[in-house]
């Protein structure tokens, strides 16, 4: 169906759930720039 009222920018981005996740190889969020404001939405998965 062509949508007129909703434009999906991103379908799903949280598929990485359960036991196959949490490898921990990604950067520690606080180390990357801020050193104060915790945020993880901008961190990159390295798996």
């Amino acid at each position: 169906m062509t949508k007129k009222h909703i434009k999906t920018l991103n379908d799903k981005n949280l598929p990485a759930k359960g036991a196959d996740t949490g490898c921990g190889e990604c950067q520690t969020s606080c180390q990357s720039a801020c050193k104060t404001s915790c945020t993880v939405g901008n961190q990159i998965c390295e798996k």
């Binding site: 169906m1 949508k3 007129k4 009222h5 909703i6 434009k7 999906t8 920018l9 991103n10 379908d11 799903k12 981005n13 949280l14 990485a16 759930k17 359960g18 036991a19 996740t21 949490g22 490898c23 921990g24 190889e25 990604c26 950067q27 520690t28 969020s29 606080c30 180390q31 990357s32 720039a33 801020c34 050193k35 104060t36 404001s37 915790c38 945020t39 993880v40 939405g41 901008n42 961190q43 990159i44 998965c45 390295e46 798996k47």
Partner: protein, 451 residues
């Protein structure tokens, strides 16, 4: 749970459990409730009269289709909670190689480098023991992170060189990869140090608050003068030498100057293209501390900043702003989103004396000392409290739409504001939500432009 918002002329909705993000029109905005479609009869009648029955039906059909496909009102993830807490692995350290500073910034949480303790330099022995501990406790993690921090870490530059050299030797024997980073105020940067940083540091964070007047009000020399003129040329040289390698020029805004968008723009005008400006952390009673009534002003500043960010995109002054970087397609896994920064679990700070703390913000709070580089982390009650400070442990987070983007907020902010880890710092939460919404809005506007 669905969160809807309007920002910079864009209307959006995000489905919290799936991570789906949508640009919506006014009608859909009216129809979407937080946990289900709004079924209020009076309201529906009003919408049908305003938009027409067929239009409302069409919009409802779109909502229903997305709901069936798991992109609106999707079910919460129940798998990740059990794997989120893991106390035994350490993968990152903040090494306080110098508890001393060559500046005297008024807002310094480190109390001008001393962290409310003695001035002091880390010894080679302590630094090496810290790296040994990191390797020993890193389990199967290959990527290890070490940030050289202070005070001002360049006051102990010879040690930094020795520890990087030692770390490189451990990489070979232990099959690890060290990512070294450095956080500096820039005053001690020389050509030789800059070349070394470019060679060895994966990232460098350079502190400058923005415009001269703003910077100099807080960031002062030891004789009480403004530091801008001494520091800015060095930072510019470092940025130029850095080329395409990662760096951030990082500033702090306070209640004294809430118009931080102008500071980011100033730094962009200076040619810096990787910028982060952060809200001050400090006791709420300080006159520069951010208060609830500052939020509407801060909100407008992020909107202004978003406009400047978009205007400069594709020009020679294009810049990245740390909090506007949001990769909707390939973000971190659920475990990372639920456990956050890792302070007190996989991330530790080490003082010059070799004491371990959950992170740099807790250094000097004796109750939070976790052990030493000799003993490793042994303060089990404190370790447990950090392991049990995930979003699943924070009632305010479980009800919050932003939990998978902010991961529960800064533990230090929570503790200093509320004297407990599991009650987030409300002003910080409000700012984080504004930043996430703004980042999503930017993505929507960029996507519009590319069509």
């Amino acid at each position: 749970m669905v969160h809807k918002f309007k920002r910079n002329g864009v209307i959006m909705a995000t489905d919290i459990n799936s991570g789906a993000v949508h640009v919506i029109d006014d009608l859909v905005y009216e129809l979407l409730g937080e946990t289900s479609v709004d079924n209020d009869k009076k309201k529906n009648l009003y919408l049908e009269n305003t938009y027409g029955v067929d239009t409302v039906k069409a919009a409802m059909a779109e909502i229903n289709e997305l709901t069936e496909n798991g992109m609106l009102y999707s079910a919460p993830d129940t798998e990740s909670e059990s794997i989120t807490r893991n106390q035994s692995i350490i993968k990152a350290m903040c090494l306080h190689v110098a508890h001393d500073c060559n500046l005297s910034c008024e807002y310094c949480f480190a109390a001008e480098g001393t962290f409310h303790g003695e001035r002091g330099m880390m010894s080679e022995e302590t630094g090496k023991k810290a790296l040994d501990l990191l390797v020993k406790r890193s389990g199967s993690r290959r990527q290890l992170e070490v940030d050289f921090f202070g005070g001002e870490p360049l006051l102990n530059f010879p040690l930094i060189k020795k520890l990087v050299h030692y770390g490189r030797s451990l990489e070979k024997t232990a099959d690890k990869r060290f990512r070294f980073t450095l956080t500096t105020n820039g005053l001690a940067l020389t050509e030789e140090i800059m070349d070394y940083i470019n060679e060895e540091m994966d990232n460098v964070v350079l502190s400058l608050d923005g415009r001269r007047s703003v910077n100099d009000r807080m960031r002062k020399t030891l004789t009480g003068e403004g530091s801008y003129d001494a520091i800015q040329p060095r930072i510019s040289q470092m940025v130029q030498k850095r080329g395409s390698k990662p760096y951030f020029v990082r500033g702090t805004f306070t209640a004294r100057h809430l118009d931080f968008a102008a500071d980011v723009i100033h730094m962009s005008d200076l040619g810096y293209d990787q910028i982060s400006v952060e809200p001050v952390v400090g006791p709420p009673e300080m006159e520069y501390a951010l208060q609830e009534n500052h939020i509407p002003i801060i909100e407008k500043e992020y909107e202004k900043l978003a406009e400047a960010y978009l205007q400069r995109k594709g020009t020679e002054n294009e810049f990245r702003f740390f909090h506007f970087i949001l990769d909707l397609k390939q973000g971190p896994c659920m475990k990372k989103r639920a456990s956050g920064c890792g302070a007190g679990t996989e991330y530790l700070a080490v003082t010059p004396e070799g004491d371990l703390y959950p992170c740099h913000q807790f250094v000097g709070q004796k109750d939070f000392c976790l052990g030493t580089v000799d003993s490793g982390p042994v303060n089990n009650s404190k370790l447990e409290s950090f392991a049990n400070a995930t979003i699943y442990d924070k009632p305010a987070c479980m009800d919050c739409w932003a939990k998978y983007y902010c991961s529960g907020g800064c533990h230090a902010n929570a503790y200093f504001a509320n004297h407990q880890l599991n009650q987030p710092y409300e002003i910080g939460c409000q700012m984080e939500k504004i930043r996430i919404e703004t980042a999503m809005t930017i993505l929507a506007l960029e996507s519009e432009e590319s069509e």
